[in-house]
Symmetry: C2
Subunit: 399 residues, 2 copies
């Protein structure tokens, strides 16, 4: 029998020419998470895996700070979380308010309309966010809504929405309205207290602050949301996104029993299990605090030291998990990004349609933040940015 285990080759693969992935997800993964990704073939109903999946479901509750929220962990990208929300909780004609800060609000709105929702957007200028006062007046004037969706951190602009304040006015105005949080770029980095703030749905993905490779759509639904799902009148117009299919599967794995609807992504779930275990070595309060602290240092470097302008209109509305920054005058975007690349650091270009070519984005969440001192990824990234800017602006001055 040939030996299939070649750690030396694998270690070479991993190390050779790897560039730090400092985009707003996928983020850098811990070596133990990558180890779990390469677990040999394991049956999706093997007792070891059933236990891992069950624990992963339980850990997701602790991550979002809920006692009785119902987690769903399904093969798919973060986008599938929009379908799960819309397909299960929305019926044709239901009115939904989208608190829109850019690309992801637009797209979530399209998804909701696909499932029959009548969508109203509260928009704002690029880099801004609808104020709580504005949202309150819309809720009072045009409500009640079946649901209100909020992008916690808009990955396209780096804008952070105030979930606590928004959920507060939504529930005060109309307690039945579902508070839906797109937490793809916030869960396990930005403060989020599912039960305390009366959130009904938070959806996210594995490859952001949860620290595992992309491939898993992750959602937690409140008991209020589950009741609305259980008592809906019309059939669910999706098969793969239907909680009717997935709820028994999640309950079975959590009860440590075998079950089958679709084959789960065994390796990805094992990797998520390792990553959530690492996160939960800290209290979530510590996780939030640490992200705020490291972010403060990064933002100070970008604005005070380098004099760069952030896409968010104020520091207060800037996310702690990524930085969206305008290129300074005289800098050629492609040259800056490739200079970073040459220094071994990958950052992202713009995504918001109105300003896509005018800014770049740096992700700072998960192990990059929690293990900052040991890893030094933030320092390496900022040093590379200093050099890239120096090079270009220096060249320009000489012309």
């Amino acid at each position: 029998m040939r030996n299939l285990f070649t750690p030396f080759h694998r270690s070479l693969t991993r190390m050779s020419s790897h560039k730090l992935c400092m985009i707003p997800g996928p983020i850098e993964f811990h070596s133990t998470v990558l180890d779990a990704m390469s677990t040999p073939a394991t049956s999706h109903v093997a007792p070891t895996f059933i236990n891992v999946f069950g624990e992963t479901i339980e850990m997701m509750r602790r991550i979002v700070l809920t006692k009785d929220g119902q987690p769903f962990i399904v093969s798919g990208s973060g986008t599938l979380g929009w379908d799960m929300t819309a397909a299960n909780l929305i019926e044709a004609g239901d009115r939904v308010l989208v608190i829109n800060t850019g690309y992801f609000g637009d797209s979530f709105g399209e998804c909701l309309e696909t499932y029959g929702a009548v969508v109203q957007h509260v928009r704002c200028e690029v880099g801004g966010r609808p104020t709580v006062e504005h949202v309150t007046s819309v809720l009072k004037q045009d409500g009640p809504f079946k649901a209100v969706t909020i992008t916690h951190v808009d990955t396209s602009t780096g804008v952070l929405n105030d979930i606590q304040a928004l959920a507060g006015v939504i529930k005060t105005t109309h307690p039945d309205t579902l508070v839906v949080v797109d937490g793809v770029c916030s869960v396990a980095s930005e403060e989020l207290r599912f039960d305390e703030w009366k959130v009904d749905v938070v959806l996210t993905a594995s490859q952001k602050a949860l620290g595992a490779p992309p491939g898993l759509s992750i959602l937690v639904a409140s008991q209020h949301a589950m009741n609305i799902f259980q008592t809906r009148q019309s059939p669910i117009s999706s098969y793969y996104a239907s909680w009717k299919r997935w709820l028994p599967i999640m309950q079975a794995y959590e009860s440590r029993k075998p079950s089958y609807f679709g084959t789960p992504a065994v390796q990805n779930i094992m990797a998520l299990h390792v990553s959530l275990g690492r996160i939960l070595q800290h209290s979530m309060d510590d996780v939030f605090k640490r992200h705020r602290e490291v972010n403060a240092r990064i933002k100070a470097h970008l604005t005070d030291k380098l004099g760069l302008r952030l896409v968010p209109l104020s520091l207060e509305m800037a996310s702690n998990s990524l930085s969206a920054v305008y290129y300074p005058e005289g800098v050629v975007p492609s040259t800056l990004l490739s200079s970073m690349g040459e220094q071994g650091v990958v950052i992202a270009g713009g995504l918001h349609r109105a300003i896509a070519t005018k800014y770049f984005r740096i992700g700072h969440m998960g192990i990059t933040v929690m293990d900052d001192e040991a890893l030094g990824y933030v320092a390496k990234t900022l040093a590379a940015l200093d050099t890239a800017l120096d090079n270009q602006l220096g060249v320009r001055e000489k012309l």
Copy 2:
């Protein structure tokens, strides 16, 4: 900076107490595939990954033997392929014929109905398959149908359907009818000639004979299917499963251009890329032939040597990629499965509702077959089965 690369620890993780996964998927993975699964964080728009994804799309055409079929590779389980088929190709009221050999025909039918299809099933006895004559008479009497679905290999019974013959009569009776093949348990093991046989959709998943971990839904659609999709009258009632969203993404990656709808499962696609590359070192003719040869040896062992009865009613209708076998009298199912486990081999129990507790299943596809001589997985599995049966039947004789 801490060294995150711990090949020694990883190799221990991989080797310690791993049991051969001989179920009908997930199958055992080659070490180079697992290496790719643990590739460090890589941006979904990094040039290296764009190239890998583009090549993977191209390789899928070669796997199913099509020149101009359109591949879709999307994060999800195999089940999502049913939604992609139904959401994009079916409009409310469209009539679909399901050639039903068990669990997967029932479920595909439910999925089609979710998207508005009027479904008619051609059923047969457990372990059988509807005859070509029977299907022909239904097509003539009750057709035309918008689509006919066929489970190529029914993972629940181990029954193989004759796609060439069925597609032939479907297209002869009504050339526009879509021939939809559920190839989850057949692609890259059973003979399938997409263009030559006039197949319109084949859907599969990463964890079967394609040899990569679960997490990817893979589908190839003919140009005829794409035309029906492009000219449909009603809007597509899914967001995540919509080809309107994914077609531009597949086309962009194939043109080696960055693009975004949802973050692809970077590591899973890298693993699939490695696995497809290994498969395509052989001609597909050789792949099919090798699966037939190894299967013949396995079936002979099960029936001639051990005297076991197969679930499929004849050898001709038995799959080459798995064996579904009734427990012989006097054998306690749980004892047999655990005896196999103690010998380091995991096999699967039954899945077809009518006989679930009465049979077991062994998967034999992918590297288990292609690298049979080097790996010895088949020999180890059959030897373990011999021992497990000897032990139980021996104990029984003594009582």
